[in-house]
């Protein structure tokens, strides 16, 4: 078990270094950073001095090492556009994105899994077919369109929910949360549904097909033959056996939710990292882009690590194999 964790951690470090390398390349190949920082009338001598001061003339490996070293200490440079440390910029935007992602993921799981179980258990019912048809819409409509439709219906026509922003936020240290005010809760509803709808339908369809598969197995038939209640059979025996693939996909999708919050945040003007990233792209604000890239990679790595550990919790067969190998 510990050997496994260490192995996965080493792999994670390789992944992070690779991503850092790509992010670092941005600085070298997307325009000249000096041009971005100084005005047009700066002399060549001044430019050269600045270049020397910033260490841009150092050999490539040295600069990369410096970059990684700084990143490890949380120093990601200064945003060209906002003239503020990138670390602080991201930190101020991170809570908004994470809270939105959390709500979207909760929505996807809390609605997707029960609907998947239901449609898997009763595939022939009319309501199941209705859910499946609806899920097709969720899968095929692009996110921005869903967002705009939701705004049209709930913000413009019905006027019950706000169409943009986070509502009132409360500061808890450096973390700003919208979960402590009514307007914050109201504001998160539409973006969370928009962001989570695709994942919700995906999870629902996945759980459904896994349920259909598991319900045909001998151990479910035997569980029935033992006279266990439907509840025990469906939720105790069947659902747990569908969990391994569901955890895999959910983990990947959670990363995707955080990473692809960009579109949703743009539609709802949600003050998160995605919006920051998009604005940075428009200004070629490379330090912000590079940091965003590294941070998202970091989330993916952490989530995948957790997913792998969850397998061990769910499936005893994996645990035993590890013990045997360890002995």
């Amino acid at each position: 078990m510990i050997a496994f964790v260490i192995r996965r951690l080493l792999q994670s470090i390789v992944v992070m270094l690779t991503v850092a390398f790509v992010a670092f390349f941005l600085f070298n190949f997307v325009g000249d950073p000096i041009n971005n920082m100084v005005g047009q009338d700066t002399s060549m001598a001044d430019r050269e001095r600045l270049r020397q001061d910033l260490g841009l003339n150092d050999p490539f490996p040295v600069r990369f090492a410096t970059f990684v070293g700084n990143a490890l200490q949380g120093k990601f440079g200064v945003s060209y556009r906002m003239a503020e440390p990138v670390g602080r910029l991201i930190a101020s935007r991170l809570p908004a994105t994470l809270e939105l992602s959390l709500m979207a993921a909760s929505f996807a799981l809390l609605v997707g899994i029960p609907m998947g179980v239901y449609t898997g258990l009763y595939p022939k019912r009319l309501s199941s077919r209705f859910f499946l048809t609806i899920s097709l819409i969720g899968i095929s409509l692009p996110t921005f369109l869903i967002g705009i439709l939701l705004i049209l219906v709930f913000a413009v026509l019905l006027g019950v929910l706000p169409s943009f922003g986070r509502g009132d936020v409360v500061k808890l240290g450096w973390w700003s949360t919208g979960f402590l005010t009514a307007s914050g809760w109201k504001a998160v509803v539409l973006p969370a549904i928009t962001l989570g709808l695709f994942q919700m339908t995906l999870i629902m369809r996945l759980v459904r097909s896994e349920m259909l598969e598991v319900m045909r197995t001998d151990y479910i038939k035997f569980a029935r033959a033992r006279g266990l209640t439907d509840r025990a059979v469906h939720f105790g025996h069947a659902l747990k056996n569908t969990l391994v693939p569901v955890i895999t996909i959910t983990g990947l999708q959670l990363g995707a939710i955080i990473a692809f919050a960009i579109v949703t945040e743009t539609v709802f003007q949600w003050p998160g990292m995605g919006l920051l990233f998009l604005q940075s792209v428009q200004f070629a604000d490379i330090p912000v882009m590079a940091t965003y890239l590294i941070l998202i990679a970091f989330f993916f790595v952490v989530i995948n690590l957790i997913v792998d550990l969850l397998y061990y919790v769910v499936d005893p067969r994996l645990r035993i194999d590890v013990q045997i190998r360890a002995n």
């Binding site: 001998d218 151990y219 056996n241 067969r317």
Partner: protein, 327 residues
């Protein structure tokens, strides 16, 4: 004679398909007395398992009981609501399936599965008492070191040991009847005899009746009190084991007996019954066995023979009707 424990009258099981309805079990009548072992033999697809599944109310959809009655302890059970039937399953009628490797849920320890079953049928039993009973059951079915094994997962058991666990699970609530559907087919030959002996011993000790579905005539000869030979969804011959083996009346039974190689007999080739059983959608007119029957005559191709009484049983063959026992 006391009332039979189980009485099946003119049972008919149908599978509606797009190309018309297939009749998998057609007019099967049989009974099982308390404590009796009834063997049911026949080729694959003869309707043996289907009859068993119909009795425990677990026909796989779209299969359904289309006619006849099933009476358990004098009470009709084939038309019970699902929840009523669930209470009978496991509690009064247990089941053992063919493949012990897939009959147990891989994600739970055998102890948990035993305790769950015990507590489902006897809600007054606490967790600790149920565990004590589970341990007792494991010892009874011959699991060595039961105290340690109770917390193991199914994949840590060998095939034979798993089938022992399955038997323990089937016996949890002391049912009066066990439907054993090919309980040894998936096991090593060396283990088969052990498992059969175990089932036989336990059922004698508990006074449990058994419907032993198998295609192994040897197992029947050794274990059963009476035997029903099924062919193409019907009972060809039923009667006391000794009588059926010594004086088979139906040509199909004669063929079955003949195809068991006997020790001490020198033969170049194994005897076999020519041809295969008809598919469900192409059952011939008259007697279903007539295309393969060595003693076929005109009437067999025209009219379907109904079971006629013999000493202690019945046989469905025109030979029996016309001139008694065939030579």
């Amino acid at each position: 004679m006391a009332d039979p424990l189980l009485k099946v009258e003119d049972l008919k099981v149908e599978f509606p398909t797009r190309r018309g309805t297939l009749v998998a079990v057609d007019g099967v009548s049989l009974h099982i007395d308390p404590g009796e072992v009834l063997g049911v033999v026949g080729e694959s697809g003869a309707g043996k398992s289907m009859t068993g599944n119909a009795i425990i109310g677990l026909l796989e959809p779209p299969g359904r009981v289309a006619g006849g009655r099933i009476l358990f302890e004098g009470r009709r059970i084939d038309d019970l609501p699902y929840e009523e039937m669930r209470k009978i399953r496991g509690r009064h009628i247990g089941a053992i399936f063919q493949d012990p490797l897939t009959s147990l849920n891989p994600l739970y320890t055998v102890g948990r599965q035993l305790i769950e079953t015990i507590r489902t049928h006897d809600e007054a039993v606490g967790e600790t008492d149920a565990r004590t009973r589970a341990l007792g059951l494991l010892r009874e079915v011959g699991i060595p070191a039961a105290e340690a094994r109770i917390d193991h997962y199914p994949h840590q058991f060998s095939g034979g040991m798993r089938q022992r666990v399955v038997i323990a699970l089937a016996l949890c609530a002391n049912p009066r009847l066990i439907i054993a559907d090919e309980p040894t087919t998936a096991l090593d030959v060396s283990i088969q005899a052990q498992i059969i002996a175990l089932i036989k011993r336990l059922c004698r000790e508990h006074g449990t009746a058994v419907m032993l579905v198998t295609h192994d005539m040897g197992v029947i000869a050794e274990t059963a009190d009476r035997v029903a030979v099924m062919y193409s969804g019907r009972i060809a011959e039923i009667g006391p084991v000794r009588e059926v083996i010594k004086h088979p009346r139906h040509p199909y039974t004669v063929g079955l007996m003949g195809s068991i190689p006997k020790v001490g007999q020198r033969r170049e080739k194994l005897t076999q019954i020519e041809g295969t059983m008809p598919r469900l959608n192409a059952i011939p007119r008259g007697c279903a066995f007539n295309p393969r029957c060595p003693k076929v005559f005109a009437r067999c191709r025209e009219e379907r023979p109904d079971p006629r009484p013999t000493p202690g049983g019945a046989v469905a063959c025109w030979l029996n009707a016309a001139a008694g026992r065939p030579a």
